[in-house]
Symmetry: C2
């Protein structure tokens, strides 16, 4: 007789909070934002699938590299709730974040160099000064998860 199939244990919000180190208030907030999902018991309490732990890990890791929740949510949209993340997903997400981070680093380096140039020329005046009018504002919009969308 085979062992009875282990029922994959669901997590309460307290357990998820404990195991992830993320306050329950934040987990409820993520749920309102659509980043994670939960089943509700008959008594209206949240129960999380085990894989939610991974989602939360991904959220926090992404936040730690400076991603806003809105962008993280976009990427998590490609990862259905309740299935463990595929290797494919990790690879693409990583590539996506790397691209994003590289862009930000590049921008900061450009700004730093401009700042130093401006010291050299003593300007820091409007109209002429590249630092005061960076012109990078257009490039600001729409990086998005290209690597996830274009395999």
């Amino acid at each position: 007789m085979p062992e009875p199939a282990k029922i994959a244990k669901e997590l309460t919000i307290g357990e998820l909070s404990e195991r992830s180190g993320v306050p329950a208030s934040a987990l409820r907030f993520y749920e309102r934002q659509g980043l994670i999902a939960s089943r509700r018991t008959t008594g209206n309490q949240r129960r999380y699938h085990r894989t939610t732990l991974r989602r939360v890990a991904f959220i926090r890791a992404s936040q730690s590299v400076g991603m806003p929740l809105s962008v993280i949510g976009g990427v998590l949209g490609f990862l259905p709730e309740g299935v463990p993340p595929t290797r494919e997903f990790w690879v693409r997400a990583s590539a996506c974040w790397s691209e994003e981070i590289d862009a930000r680093i590049e921008k900061m380096e450009r700004m730093r160099d401009r700042f130093t140039e401006c010291i050299g020329c003593g300007c820091l005046s409007f109209e002429q000064c590249a630092l005061v009018n960076p012109g990078d504002t257009l490039a600001e919009r729409g990086p998005g998860p290209r690597r996830l969308l274009e395999p």
Copy 2:
């Protein structure tokens, strides 16, 4: 007979706004935060010294490299209102910001690399994962304008 000394023209908030491209509401906000100062007319209207234009330029340029207003305010504290910024000031401020930016870039690179590592090991689990528990939070506090303070 010598020409009458040109009275250094003061700027109204509208003029400062126009010439700096910064909304008047933001200029009032900066004043509340103590980043810039103004003289008041008998009728309680603001009049700005010409050098305020430079201060505002500095504020915007600093913001463009990601400095929070509080830190910018700290550095501007070394630049008395009404005197044009010295070369010394620019040089130190630049060095200060460069240091700050380099630190941020370094941190982002570290994070990016960790992210990629974590993809490699497939972890992204709590407790073990360096990304999820970066341990960089302590280093977060107190960079401050060292270069301005220690000549």
